[in-house]
């Protein structure tokens, strides 16, 4: 029974160094922009979504308003609303337990816990999410306290490892014509919107492929 929690932790383990490294980079950025270490750690623990955190802090750093920073991050995280509804059935127990467990939903833990036909293994998601959470929040604290000790994650090529990871997980999803068409459509929508739409919108728009499937029948 506990083995599937462990299975999730095992599957996500290769990403732990990336979570630590990007977490530290976020801590360093927050330190240099005067956000403060405590706020950075609180943000990593509650928002727990890299792109949105970097986006919000960068907007503030560039002199943007609070509203602009929040909007950027909310747009980036809106996809979690779709994912959350899609995986709702997999969660069980009291509302409080579901509230806490659902916070471990991140792109990587969700993608890695897929068991086919859009369903997920909750225990795998939780095991994977916990590992990412510890390394992400730990990395943020490390970066905020110790400064730039791990180096730039991009210099280590970790920014190129992320799309490759998503591609590897995507490959396991392409089981029939429907899923292949959805992938091509989703990727194309994101590509076309990238130069025009604010960050986050291309990905949400891509998930609109599902709506088209709803309409079809």
């Amino acid at each position: 029974m506990t083995s599937s929690y462990r299975e999730g932790a095992k599957r996500i383990a290769p990403l732990a160094p990336a979570a630590l490294s990007f977490g530290a980079a976020f801590g360093v950025l927050a330190g240099t922009t005067g956000i403060g270490g405590l706020a950075a750690v609180v943000m990593s623990a509650t928002t727990f979504a890299g792109a949105a955190q970097f986006a919000a802090i960068t907007v503030l750093q560039d002199g943007g308003t609070v509203a602009a920073a929040v909007t950027a991050a909310v747009l980036l995280n809106l996809r979690y609303l779709a994912i959350s509804v899609a995986v709702a059935r997999a969660f069980e127990g009291s509302r409080l337990r579901r509230l806490f467990e659902s916070q471990l939903i991140v792109d990587e833990s969700w993608a890695i816990s897929q068991v086919g036909r859009g369903r997920i293994d909750r225990r795998v998601l939780i095991g994977a999410g916990l590992v990412l959470f510890v390394f992400w929040v730990g990395g943020t604290a490390l970066g905020a306290l110790a400064g730039d000790v791990l180096g730039d994650p991009n210099r280590l090529g970790l920014d190129g490892a992320l799309p490759a990871l998503f591609l590897a997980l995507l490959a396991t999803q392409l089981v029939d014509r429907r899923t292949k068409v959805a992938a091509v459509a989703g990727g194309s929508i994101a590509f076309v919107l990238l130069p025009f739409a604010p960050a986050g919108v291309p990905v949400i728009a891509a998930s609109g492929v599902c709506l088209w499937e709803l309409k079809k029948r």
Binding site: F48, L60, A82, S102, D159, G160, A168, L170, L194
Partner: protein
Amino acid sequence: MSSAWVVVLLVGAFTVAFKAAGPVLLGSRPLPERMSQAFELLAPSLLAALVVTQAVGGKQEIVFDARLVGVAAGIVAIRLRAPLIVVIVVAALATALARVAF
């Protein structure tokens, strides 16, 4: 309260609510058949979009850089049926090397 804290708390509250919405509000009630069929396409469409935005995304622009070399190396590893960790390490190494080389 500083504006940074306001951003941290607001973004945190929104994200917690987004992630919790399904499991807390819907619970284990099954989705209508048509909806769950539609959600079968969420993983392929969203993952493909993440591949694109992570590989060539910039600040509201398309950027071709060392990441593409990493993705190409990753594709080779995926085609050779390498385990996930190998795909990640190969892609990271190729990206880092390409960045040094160019």
